[in-house]
Subunit: 324 residues, 2 copies
């Protein structure tokens, strides 16, 4: 079976050799740029691995996998404008390197290009694939809108957060797995289980990301911690803490996450202290684990033998156990 | 046969009753807003009329027609951000009424929504329809990029301009007619003639628009003239004048179209004077007429009897002869 590393290699090779034979260069250079500056290619690799679960040949899954990766990068490009981010993967964002208009229009063209690659599916499954892709694309935009709405609201709960990240990030992972399965010839039931697998995985991964930002192993990896805290992000941990806190800690926490006029180190220490006292790490770990187990239960129901499932299972385990 | 007015009425009714049953409202309110503030619905009406040329029932063409209108409005929404426009159809633009992030994201969602409506085509023609729609959508973005490139360049010719407007506006009119034809069951050859018809029409209309901005009948309609001149737009007339001008007039013209520090009335009078001396009105009228005739020749080749072609022919004639 196709390992993640092998799938990733195929995707990277395809992206490198991707010739978008169109003009003007001013429009397509930023597209090439954002696609070339990396990322782990998790979503397109999942398309290929999911396809390989049901079919020996994965050739037909390559273009749809690229569609998913191009769409994902389109959302990053436009999110970066909306969030005013200057860096993406340690490189200047498109609107920083060029300008905002270029970033808007190149993003638009990427969103359309992703449909060009989706259109490459065989005619019999095209209506279903198109429907899945479009529904997912709408949901990702809706998730981004909820994320923006939440910034200015003070009444968001952990459940609201789960709903938001489900739309903003999980459904694209779910769609990647379902798309691959459909192209590989999976039954409707199996395709739906693959979707459930991906949706719950995505939530588990995001909560884990939130955890790692506070509790990541910095000694081992040298990665900065507390960047979400400094950016006043309402992560799962913060929202759960607000739910669990008494009046006193709640007040302090609310104040801290609405100011930038405080020493970053002090802010990280104080907030981490509150999280620790409230046992938020344990709550979040449990929650992440529960979604992970739910994901695995859905995957277990897919009617493919365990041996064939091994590489996908190993890969998601590795993602769950990462320490940075 | 379906008249333009009837087709327009159907589209307006469909748009009014369009329930996009999705959340959050913050994302879909601007979509509803831009779709509701009007516009002549020329493109979707053309889809219906083209379909009706080949088929008595136009029901299957309604959703694809809406796709074209939603896509068109998406491009207006994002163009307004890029051009910093505050008004659209005498109403505040989306980024003015809400904010820029809302305008970016609502535009994104409209572009994706247009694919939802395209996906409604019958499975047999879906691959071809999807291909046509995506190619057209890419071209429209490319046209907008050329338009932005041209703003800062001083070496643009009339031919460059034709290339730009072909992409930015004509191909969507062409695609509307071809799409309608395909849904109505037209042959490949007829569908291609419909495309040629629309492409040349679009160019003819744009040159006519440029003419009307300078030579429109203000007394009759009270519409302001010279808005393109005040905005320093490099229209077909200006570019042709730059080609035809001697050194002296060329220098004056070049200076005038690169400044905003001049009394608007004086600017309009001086530039119109130069255009008159160079006979630009006649050149542009001839050019527009030539594209119009080319369009009609393509339409003549469509294997449908003349009687059935009448309402479409009447409508395009009316568009060509409008005086505002």
């Amino acid at each position: 079976m196709l390992s993640f590393e092998k799938a990733q290699e195929i995707i990277n090779r395809e992206i490198e050799s991707l010739v978008i034979n169109r003009e003007p260069v001013e429009l397509y250079k930023p597209v090439k740029y954002i696609l070339s500056i990396g990322g782990k290619r998790i979503r397109p690799a999942l398309v290929l691995m999911a396809c390989n679960l049901f079919s020996d040949t994965i050739t037909h899954a390559i273009k749809p996998a690229l569609a998913i990766e191009i769409f994902h990068n389109f959302t990053l490009l436009h999110d970066d404008i909306m969030d005013n981010s200057v860096l993406r993967r340690n490189r200047p964002t498109v609107h920083e390197k060029w300008n905002q208009n270029v970033a808007i229009l190149s993003g638009d063209v990427m969103s359309i290009l992703s449909y060009r690659f989706i259109g490459d599916c065989s005619a019999e499954i095209l209506p279903d694939i198109l429907d899945l892709f479009t529904t997912t694309a709408l949901e990702v935009c809706e998730g981004q809108q909820y994320d923006m709405n939440y910034e200015s609201r003070n009444d968001i709960t952990g459940d609201d957060y789960i709903k938001m990240i489900t739309l903003k990030t999980s459904v694209l992972i779910a769609a990647s797995l379902k798309l691959g399965a459909m192209i590989g010839g999976a039954s409707h039931t199996d395709s739906d289980f693959m979707y459930e697998f991906g949706k719950n995985l995505g939530i588990a991964f995001q909560i884990r990301d939130d955890l790692l930002d506070v509790y990541g192993n910095t000694e081992k990896f040298g990665k900065k911690i507390g960047t979400d805290i400094i950016a006043n992000k309402k992560t799962y941990l913060i929202l759960k803490a607000l739910e669990e806190a008494d009046d006193e800690s709640g007040k302090i926490l609310r104040k801290l996450i609405s100011t930038k006029n405080i020493d970053p180190e002090e802010k990280i220490t104080t907030i981490t202290g509150i999280l620790n006292r409230l046992g938020i790490r344990e709550i979040a770990e449990l929650e992440s684990k529960e979604y992970y187990n739910k994901a695995l239960r859905a995957f277990d129901l897919v009617t493919v033998n365990s041996k064939q499932k091994k590489s996908l299972k190993d890969f998601v385990k590795q993602l769950m156990e990462r320490e940075k």
